[in-house]
């Protein structure tokens, strides 16, 4: 059964209160779960926040993570977005060494990847790449031979395609809090 090592994107709606992020992070560290990436920002209504966590584990582990998250009092909803069809997005910012000899080749890669140049000085180009995780990673691999001085990525945010949050509650109904 298990899909060991597969990345799962878990979207968590929480009350926007002091310490809620610590509760989530503590849960992951205390129970030995891994956090691959984590983003937090206020939801449309700023009394709530949306936390998007990318984690790894087989089906049983992911189910247990979702249940444990639900158990936290400030957690309002938990959805495993990996089960359904979701749009995932992240941003990568890179500082890359570029010189006169390889500038043409570099600009070519940037154009093909639809990356944007944000800043330039005599040695370095600062580039923004956005898209799914794979696209960001591939771009970084492509420009690696030029020499990367710095690479910062935002971590993933995700949303369901239909906009229907609840269609992704594939966990047994009774394990998921219903609004």
């Amino acid at each position: 059964m298990g899909n060991l090592g597969v990345n799962h994107t878990i979207s968590v709606l929480v009350s926007n209160e002091v310490g809620v992020l610590s509760r989530i992070v503590d849960l992951f560290s205390g129970r030995g779960y891994n956090i691959e990436s984590l983003t937090v920002a206020p939801a449309l209504d700023s009394i709530y926040s949306r936390v998007t966590i990318v984690t790894q584990g087989d089906d049983d582990v992911i189910e247990q993570i979702c249940k444990q998250l639900n158990r936290l009092i400030p957690v309002i909803k938990v959805a495993n977005l990996s089960i359904g069809d979701a749009i995932e997005y992240e941003i990568g910012l890179l500082k890359i060494f570029v010189n006169d000899e390889n500038r043409a080749e570099f600009m070519n890669i940037v154009a093909q990847a639809q990356a944007s140049i944000m800043d330039v000085n005599e040695k370095l180009y600062t580039v923004k790449i956005d898209g799914d995780e794979k696209k960001v990673q591939t771009f970084a691999e492509l420009v690696r031979p030029f020499g990367i001085k710095e690479f910062v990525r935002s971590g993933k945010v995700a949303i369901t395609k239909s906009g229907q949050f609840s269609t992704f509650k594939k966990l047994k109904d009774e394990f998921v809090k219903v609004e």
Partner: protein, 569 residues
Amino acid sequence: MNKQMFSGAQILLKSLLKEGVEEIFGYPGGVVLPLYDALYMQNDIKHYLVRHEQAAVHAAEGYARVSGKAGVAIVTSGPGACNTITGLANAYYDGTPMVLITGQVNSKLIGGDAFQEADIVGITRSCCKHNYLVKDVKDLARVVKEAFYIATTGKKGPVVIDIPVDVFNAKYTFNYPKNVELVGYNPNYKGHPLQIQRALKTLFEAKRPVIISGGGVVASNSSKELTELATKLHIPVVHTLMGTGTYPDSLETSLGMMGMHGNYCANLTVSNADVIFAIGTRFSDRITGCLKRFARDAQVIHIDIDPCSISKNVKATIPIVGDIKNVLNAMLFELMKSHHKINVELKDKWFKDIEEWKKKVAIPQKMSDKLSAITVLEKIYEFTKDDEPIVSTEVGQHQMWTAQNFKFNKPRKLITSGGLGTMGFGFPAAMGAAVAKKDGYILNIAGDGSIQMNIQELMTCVDYKFKVINCIINNGYLGMVRQWQEKIYNEHYSQTKISSPDFVKLAESYGALGIRVEKEEEIIPALKKAIDFKGPCLIDFVCENFEMVYPWVLAGQPIDKVLLSRKEC
């Protein structure tokens, strides 16, 4: 509209009264001075002064376990609050409802490393169900209301309220909220009707069914429903340590405790079952043994109010999330409606097998002329059983011997540290039990190691004349650890030989009764004397050093590999 102003300390006490709290345990200190002043000025809430903050929390837990109500404790900031961690973790593990009030330094000083400051919300996050730091007196009443609601619903547990000293002093009106609004907290009480029908159908068809009754049956007060359902469905019942007393031991279909030191019969029954009906248990490793080999051929029906407990360790075939009492009542109702005739013959062979397994019990050990701990406990049980006292235990060999040799026909009679296994729990928990149940006496079965972990509470017991009879099974060792060293670590008794003070003199110095028992014929007279004494008592039973707890399933082994004596390996 009530416009009268009260201090935060008064608001807290008024809120506690609204929650029906009349008795609390605690220890004062700098930042809770305003609260202790407010306590001084009133007579509605009785405060019991302990001698160590850990004991306050254990006592609150003992109180909660006996009364079924949330236990309440108050401690000061920093060291006071840090001393409660073990008690919190213990209550969290065993699902005991509790509200702990911790003082905090002035809210303007938080984060500045003030005197006696500790980030108690941070420290306690992983050992309580929820916690609050109240920064505004306006939130205080609502927070207390929420804390009690969270502590006493769903899977029960401890909730911490951290209150800075300036909030105790700030003034505000008192309006206790009627309702709780927590968007993110809605425990599911009603089991899924289709799951309930599936469960019943599976139980009807089962040839080798067994019920495992856990601590959740105590928490949800469902012993009656459990007993009725098991009887009607004609299914034998085993219990976990935490489920002791949920199904009367006097019934023939009660197979006793299962697990690492459970009965041979109980363990074999679970191992060979085709349907396991688990009620309010989280399948801890002390119950399942080797998880991979646990009940491999069985279908598992699992009721629990906490979804996390289901399929965490043992995969449930039919999960039912809900309040046990509700679910069992729904099952009883379905059973009545269906007019299903229970086929008793279907299980004939099963019950014959069980009768055979019942014959295999631990083989008595006779090692020296010293008292056998098992004999002592048998005698204590026989002598006290008609009084049905509440029995608390510490943790170790004596705990297992108590669970094995005492028979309980009612829940909330055995108060013991199950999940966390906290030495030093039993004595303060017995004090809490004594507050919850003012008539009669409380037995605390202790080891010579455990009793020394919270021995200071003798003074508390003397002050309040708590009738706690501490029966110390004194074998000169940290017996359970020594037992493992003997079997698994080549008799390397590393740091397990432990000396004790003269318990008789110690008791006397506190103003308690101390008795030493070295011979079998002294046991009953000592108990008589202790029961007649109007206060706490220490009975020092000087026992054989090398007695072992059997039955014993070694850690990591499947639970049907039961050792019954030293000779087996």
